[in-house]
């Protein structure tokens, strides 16, 4: 009789462990999806800010047409790819980042522009949006790491194998230009 109780007890404990681990995995996976959505929110914010920036800068920088056009083109390209494949999208976003930093570097040479309140506010918003994009990527990668650890480490890997959890992908920097920090000269 005692043996039955012991075995029953062990089964109950295993069941509780299984449920708790499964719930933990679900929580982490949802956190990962949420983190991915956050990146989207910040990227969209950037699309919305850019036309404003171009308008403000246009009046002051008469001879920088190519730089301005490069930004507009990059932005439109990135926006058009926004529902597509992650790899292409990542590359387009990276190019937009480079175009933007080139524009901001150019703007450093125009003291009138730098004194304009509108421009300063926009610059702050853009810098902050770039930071937020990096931080949401960072948070996404951290969440992917946590989920993958749980999926691959013992003993939760047993539960993950039984219930079929897939590993999370890391958001990697694919565009070579994005990896290099833009060289900015302050004269």
């Amino acid at each position: 009789m005692l043996a039955v109780y012991i075995v029953g007890g062990i089964v109950v404990i295993l069941l509780i462990f299984f449920i708790a681990t499964y719930n933990g995995l679900i929580g982490l996976r949802n956190q990962l999806r949420n983190a991915w959505a956050q990146i989207d929110v910040q990227l969209k914010r950037r699309y919305d800010l850019i036309p404003n920036l171009i308008e403000t800068v246009k009046g002051y920088v008469k001879h920088e047409r190519e730089t301005l056009e490069a930004v507009t083109k990059a932005r439109n390209l990135a926006q058009s790819l926004s529902s597509g494949d992650v790899g292409a999208r990542s590359k387009a976003e990276g190019e937009l980042s480079s175009a933007l930093s080139r524009l901001l570097a150019v703007a450093e040479r125009y003291p009138d522009l730098k004194a304009n309140q509108n421009f300063l506010a926009l610059q702050e918003e853009l810098t902050s949006t770039e930071n937020k994009i990096s931080f949401s990527r960072q948070y996404y990668n951290d969440s992917a790491l946590n989920l993958n650890n749980k999926i691959q480490m013992f003993p939760s890997n047993v539960v993950a194998a039984i219930t079929g959890f897939k590993l999370g992908e890391f958001f990697e920097v694919k565009a070579a230009e994005e990896r290099e920090a833009p060289k900015v000269k302050f004269t």
């Binding site: 937020k132 931080f135 949401s136 790491l145």
Partner: protein, 388 residues
């Protein structure tokens, strides 16, 4: 500690241990409820803080929002500014979804973006790690113990004077009574002291954890280190802090008043040590912070709770990042600095000074008359050997 005190007091005074426990828990419960529901608004009203929205101070709002994303909080905390030239900040909020962060106007004026972000990261870490709730509960625990001990002392005093008529109702005869009394007295004296020590130790530990979390969120520990340096150098005292609210601030608001910064009754660890640990980090994970902590103090025991270390497997996976452009443009133009450096380097060499390079980036100049074999880096605290 609380339960122990309650048990013995109840046993002695009421002839019933359970009664004592119930009363102890009741007092604790009432105080907890009050602290839980009233905590935030009380704290903010006391410090004369005003709430700001996104448009009132976009820079601060953006910095807080960036840290919210990096730390994974669900909702943006309320942001307040305290009109005070002193440099400090604090966070309150019993729940990560209902938190508030407050910053002094002095801090906003003096720090650059990276430093401000480091400080805000530290505060948000307090919110995320539920330190506010933890410290409030510890404070309540401490308060209850003190109240019970005080009450017990008074009753003991009075019943002692009137000749101990309680001996008849006891449950073990005279001998048992005396032992319980003795233990009770020891507890009455010791419990408040021990509880206080425990409270302050917990507070200091959570401060280290918040520093480590801030480095992890920002990926840039130098920001917080540099901010702490500026705060430490500032002589202005924060007007509206008192002993009860001290643990919530980034830096001990009472450090100017001669309180020894590292003794058992301090709520914050000494600033210089915090700066040294942050600068000595080689990566950004909690494990890296733990390693830097152990090196800096020369102790074997780390500071990070084992549960946090178990969750954190990012040692080496997360890299430090470069300072943000705002920090760089704020410096003098690079050529001027370079020329000044070259000139002073030449002067050092002419006077036969030796150069010792520290791995934190500092170059130490050692006088030719120095005969020792090792020096300590003033920035990060590492001991470096000097060639004779």
């Amino acid at each position: 500690m609380l339960l122990l005190l309650g048990y013995f007091l109840g046993l002695y005074f009421l002839g019933s241990a359970i009664g004592g426990l119930v009363i102890a828990l009741l007092v604790w419960g009432i105080m907890s409820l009050v602290a839980y529901f009233q905590g935030d608004s009380l704290l903010l009203a006391v410090s004369r803080a005003r709430k700001i929205g996104r448009d009132d101070n976009p820079r601060l709002y953006n910095i807080v929002e960036e840290m919210k994303i990096a730390s994974g909080l669900e909702k943006m905390p309320d942001i307040y500014i305290i009109d005070d030239p002193a440099l400090n900040a604090f966070a309150t909020g019993r729940d990560p979804n209902k938190a508030s962060v407050a910053v002094t106007s002095g801090l906003l004026a003096k720090l650059n973006r990276d430093e401000l972000q480091g400080v805000i990261g530290h505060e948000m870490a307090h919110v995320k790690n539920r330190d506010v709730l933890l410290m409030a509960m510890c404070a309540v625990m401490l308060g209850t113990i003190v109240i019970l001990a005080w009450y017990a002392t008074r009753v003991l005093f009075f019943s002692g004077m009137s000749g101990g008529r309680r001996s008849s109702r006891s449950d073990g005869g005279g001998g048992g009574q005396v032992i319980i009394l003795a233990v009770g007295i020891v507890l009455i004296i010791l419990a408040p002291i021990l509880a206080q020590i425990i409270y302050f130790t917990i507070s200091r530990k959570r401060e280290y954890l918040a520093d480590a979390s801030s480095a992890l969120y920002t990926r840039y520990p130098e920001g917080l280190a540099s901010a702490l340096e500026k705060i430490a150098a500032s002589p202005v005292q924060l007007k509206s802090a008192n002993q009860a609210t001290a643990p919530m601030y980034t830096v001990n608001p009472f450090r100017q008043q001669g309180r020894a910064a590292s003794n058992l009754t301090s709520t914050h660890p000494p600033i210089q040590e915090r700066i040294r640990i942050l600068r000595a980090m080689s990566g950004v994970s909690l494990a890296d912070y733990d390693r830097a902590y152990r090196e800096a103090r020369g102790v074997k025991a780390g500071i990070t709770p084992a549960s946090a270390l178990a969750l954190d497997k990012m040692s080496g996976a997360a890299a430090l990042r470069a300072p943000s452009p705002e920090a760089e443009t704020a410096e003098e133009s690079p050529q001027k600095v370079e020329r000044a450096r070259e000139t002073s380097d030449m002067m050092w060499r002419l006077s036969n000074y030796r150069t010792v390079n520290c791995s934190c980036g500092t170059k130490l100049r050692v006088s030719p008359e120095f005969r020792g074999t090792s020096v300590q880096c003033p920035h990060c605290g590492r001991t470096l050997s000097v060639k004779v």
